[in-house]
Point group: C2
């Protein structure tokens, strides 16, 4: 249906990858939050999001993300088949208004009248043809200076969303209505009244506008935000394929949502009422709602065995998980954590994460597997003076030239082929072969092959901290 979008100039998708998805712990964590996981299909949520805006009517996206996620975002865009996207790196989270300001300023450098379609990286939409039809309507109004939001038809009196009151239809833009007011997240009674009214829709946080309109409205309603982001953009640096916002000015920017900063204040707001099977996928309960159920109402993902369970969501990303006789339970198993809870207690997952964080537990924020520009590594076992890791290097990639003062490393190649450098010597290490790297030696590994290289790294030594690494040279700008 993308051919229904006017061919004036392509719409630029602006994908905000800002959330940490704490309520989907233990799968979603700060270091690898929910938008990067394949939660509803075999593609990650940000891939699904980006692919909603593929086609002749769309320019490559602008993705705004935490700088720590840059390699994951780049890899997943590549995997989604997206070429030419631009990735704007936030040195710190400042909510949606500064992120959108940066995207609008970037787009305006080429074309101030470019239409931007802003969306979260981590929402689900089931009716793609309807989305594209309504987007076409929104784009027409946006070109005329409107800031158009999508109001989602409520399916329940949710208290977790803000609401939008729909006004009169705009005669010149079929499908687009005046927006009477925004309603803050309501209590349960208010939510019921709002839904019953038939005039209130969920605020999905999806907007369509031109760069020029957004910049003008930011200037009018949130000039401090715009000024700070202008400075951060002016002082930005290129970092490989990434655009890194200047940390100082960006840190000085107020942290504020686009709703508060602009949408609720502008006189240009409009709304497209929509019924798209939208969900913010904000909890395990939402994944149960969205999932395919067996005859007993269970959603099972992964290595799961159910015996007399009803209306449960059970997911294992690892070991076999048996659920017996539970009702309305959520059981989620990852490599290093288990969550078992009542489906109604979705909001309490945050408490678990907070307690783990307070206890200094890495499981609160990070996964065992760490992604790097060259591939990933994961710890298999760690003792007091040793650690065993699986290291996977993608074809053509190489790790930094580095040395460690306190640990020896022993690598055994189990899949693929490695070119190792050790104190200047180049050594080809084939499957079944191994190499010793004593403390202090300058070393590097590269995968010259066509398939991923996997090697097992046994580290031994009295100190195995991640900070015992001296990087002498790096292909990904990580020297020092």
């Amino acid at each position: 249906m993308t051919d229904m979008i006017p061919a004036v100039s392509p719409v630029i998708p602006v994908i905000l990858s800002g959330g940490s998805g704490t309520r989907l712990w233990p799968v979603s964590r700060e270091s690898f939050p929910k938008q990067f996981w394949p939660l509803l299909s075999d593609r990650s949520m940000i891939e699904e999001t980006a692919r909603r805006a593929l086609g002749p009517g769309f320019a490559p996206p602008i993705v705004v993300c935490n700088q720590d996620h840059r390699f994951v975002v780049a890899e997943q865009l590549r995997h989604a088949g997206i070429d030419g996207g631009r990735i704007l790196l936030e040195p710190a989270g400042r909510n949606s208004a500064p992120a959108v300001a940066a995207a609008a300023l970037l787009a305006a450098e080429t074309d101030p009248h470019a239409v931007l379609w802003m969306m979260a990286a981590d929402a689900a939409i089931s009716d793609l043809p309807a989305l594209h039809r309504l987007l076409a309507a929104a784009v027409l109004a946006a070109r005329a200076g409107r800031i158009v939001t999508f109001g989602m038809k409520p399916t329940a009196p949710e208290t977790g969303f803000g609401y939008i009151e729909v006004g009169a239809p705009l005669a010149e833009f079929p499908g687009v209505h005046d927006l009477t007011r925004f309603v803050e997240k309501p209590d349960a009674a208010t939510a019921a009244t709002l839904v019953a009214s038939g005039r209130h829709l969920w605020n999905s946080g999806m907007f369509v506008f031109t760069a020029a309109t957004m910049i003008a409205e930011l200037d009018r309603h949130a000039p401090d935000v715009l000024a700070a982001v202008r400075l951060a953009m002016a002082q930005r640096s290129a970092d490989l394929d990434f655009i890194r916002l200047a940390p100082g000015p960006f840190a000085a920017c107020p942290s504020i949502s686009l709703d508060y900063a602009v949408a609720e204040r502008t006189s240009h707001a409009a709304v497209v009422p929509a019924d798209l099977g939208w969900s913010d996928v904000g909890s395990w309960g939402a994944l149960w709602d969205l999932g395919a159920k067996d005859g007993q109402g269970n959603v099972a993902v992964g290595d799961v065995l159910l015996e007399g369970a009803t209306d449960c969501y059970v997911r294992s990303d690892g070991i076999v998980t048996a659920v017996v006789g539970l009702e309305n339970a959520v059981v989620v198993v990852t490599e290093d954590a288990v969550l078992a809870m009542h489906r109604d207690r979705a909001q309490d997952v945050k408490k678990v994460v907070d307690r783990l964080r307070a206890a200094g537990r890495h499981e609160a924020v990070a996964h065992n597997r760490s992604y790097r520009p060259w591939g990933f590594f994961e710890t298999l076992i760690a003792g007091e003076r040793f650690r065993v890791q699986r290291v996977v290097v993608q074809p053509g990639q190489k790790l930094s030239l580095q040395k460690h003062y306190h640990r020896a490393e022993h690598w055994t190649v189990v899949e693929g082929i490695a070119v190792a450098t050790r104190d200047g010597a180049t050594i080809l290490v084939r499957e079944n072969e191994s190499i010793d790297l004593p403390p202090g030696c300058l070393h590097r590994v590269e995968n010259p092959g066509r398939i991923p290289l996997t090697f097992i790294e046994v580290q031994t030594g009295s100190y195995l901290g991640a900070d015992d690494v001296v990087r002498v040279e790096d292909s990904y700008g990580r020297v020092g």
Copy 2:
């Protein structure tokens, strides 16, 4: 209280290690069942059992176990501080009557009038002084030719146990009563009636008798059992410290419990009514009953975090496990499996194990960690053509001299010291050092040190099956 046992000759504990504890999956599995796990204290159940019979009044125990468990039993007896025990190996499970027959025949070789105290390896008893007092009473009656059972005061109308009806007290043996009859496992209504009667006790399967009495009663009531076991004993073989019953004759023996074969038929039965805090620890619910509870009725063992949970049993032998808002749930996490269930569904765990077994899943029967006479090993990760294992060798122990046709091995010592043999050469491998073992090389490893040796073994090759090992020499009788 062991000094209250008459000093005529010490009582011989006979510990039957026969159960597979399926209802305590995923912790208890056929290859390492519940009696070998520290479920209620930091000692395993068989250790706790053996230690109930330590002291001047007791001879070293006779343990009857599956031959596959021999090294674990020996190791755990050692760990419990038991010296001089004898371990009778069953080539196949034949229930309790043949096991007891073998123990009685063995004891009678030295002293036909020896008193045997038969008990299961996997029951809990909280009141040890009371146990020893009642045992002293039972021993007196046993010496006079009685087969004395312990009847446990019921705390609930259990349908999982048989019951014993208590008769008149025996004037000559204070504390000992006539045994009127055995009652098979009842239905719920019958169980309630039995408990209400005040005259019925749980049949705990704990018996006291002399070797001569048991042999005579077996001869009278189960001559086929006695004959088969006599033959299996006559043809037994010594295997290191173990006594291996002859497989042919033992396999030909009927599989029958001591209750059916003798206790219910003999005219010599007597009972000691007991109130010892006894439990057969037959389900996760029983462990919840026995465990120390927090203010919300939860029992938590291991790396567990509770948030609004009530009356739950939560155990993690591995990764962090959070339970939120569940009631009456059991959540058990091991290295390779998770069980989450309603506490009332204890009997359905067996269904889970059966389904896993039918699917050919190793998790049904075996653990990731495999115990050997020299220590243990566990798989950290396995790919199609590689496997990484942690191998721990106890001080002074050594693996067999062996070779593999299809795989190379790379060992890195991370703790302790190894003496490796490779094609006749002896190589000392220290911490931080590694050694390569190409396919076909004849190799062996020994821990000559005073602390456990840990090395990481990376196996690579096109075939990694456990049957690709040729044992040339072995210290533990496993050659070939």
